[in-house]
Symmetry: C2
Subunit: 228 residues, 2 copies
Amino acid sequence: MELLQTIKKSPLFLTIDEETLKEIAEHCRQKKLYKGQELFAAGDTAENFYIILNGWIKLSRISREGEEIIIHVFGPGESFAEAAVFSDKKKYPVYAQSIEDAEVIEIPRSFFIKKIEEDSRFALRLLGSISAHQHYLVQQLEQVTSRTAPQRVGAFLLRFCKRQTENADGTMVVDLPYDKAIISTRLSIKPETFSRALAKLEPYGVTADKRAITIKSPEALADFCDVD
Amino acid sequence: MELLQTIKKSPLFLTIDEETLKEIAEHCRQKKLYKGQELFAAGDTAENFYIILNGWIKLSRISREGEEIIIHVFGPGESFAEAAVFSDKKKYPVYAQSIEDAEVIEIPRSFFIKKIEEDSRFALRLLGSISAHQHYLVQQLEQVTSRTAPQRVGAFLLRFCKRQTENADGTMVVDLPYDKAIISTRLSIKPETFSRALAKLEPYGVTADKRAITIKSPEALADFCDVD
DNA sequence: AACATCACTTGATTTGGATCAACTCCACAA
DNA sequence: TTGTGGAGTTGATCCAAATCAAGTGATGTT
């Protein structure tokens, strides 16, 4: 069964035994989302958290002026909204929407809490997963406040190309997973600035052809972006 | 015993029974820190997490260029570094230093994990506490990316004056808890900008006399800062 | 084939905050 | 009392990114 296989691969469930996994698979619902569909809104009661099977889900907040801030974009295998489920107010603090057609697994809060009560290793695993995301947020905060736009774009490309293939000569090709406008917002810059930032990375061996980005020397880029 | 009383008041232990609290008090060490003392550095093994008795502890990261980014400043009653203790790498991702003379309680990881295994309600409580901090980080990210310097300064004042007294006529007086330079860094702005931002809040009834800030109409300020 | 639309790119101008620099005001020490 | 240094303010200038605006080049539609 495909569902079980996917759950198994999620970082959250890496160390969970087969039997528990089967039980989890039985208690969660698979959900299909069309492009742009809302999964939950900020302020909704946090009844579930999610694991992504395929597609991309963006978590964002909308300011009073209607401006959107993307908190994170989660991809296949990743889980999100765990923290909201355990918050005091039991509300989602952000808005979640799919940016492509997507499939997610919905895991109900109640089942999850039962599981934690039964199995403390599971609680520890969960704490690890949440703290990893917290670490990501801290890094994000650092990026936004202390890096220039080109550095942020470069760091994004590097983070992303880690998951993709490397050629024999060290050259890497990244295929951008979604619209440049989404990436821009995620990096807290405007699309125009993104475009110009990409151009400024040319001296470091970065060339773009539509969504396919070639990085001649990841090392030189990493050096410029001050990562790794 | 003072230690037990303080632990009891910490949000993390609010719902924990007296007996467990006594046990916790027995297993943790009280530590005095002089101004500027390092508590742990980024990369250190995360053996403990902390609760503040008094004083202020700042968590920061230092970029390769030597620039400091303050992630958060924690005050009396607050706990921090819970997440690091549960991360996969078991390392602190940030640097912690006291900004005044301070006293903290140090709680060892090992004891804590034992406690979670024994008591699932405790694990849930902890999950709640961590997710609250995560929510804070998300808000911080939003502030930094979408608010101007004066708005951020105003939001800081409002957040802070909630913990302080309000006069009968609605006027509030905030006494800044630490150096303006620290506040500036926490808000990701330069001290000069902080100074100018404070001046720009004058039309909204904000006047400063050294560290004592008077806010004539918190509502007007909140409106300008787009909070609450 | 003509048109509309969407996803960018490129150019010109503006602006918020950083930087550099000087100056005031206090606390504290010799 | 007179210095000395740190905290904070104020002024002048600079720069990165936002904004406003126009254009390109795909893709799909009638």
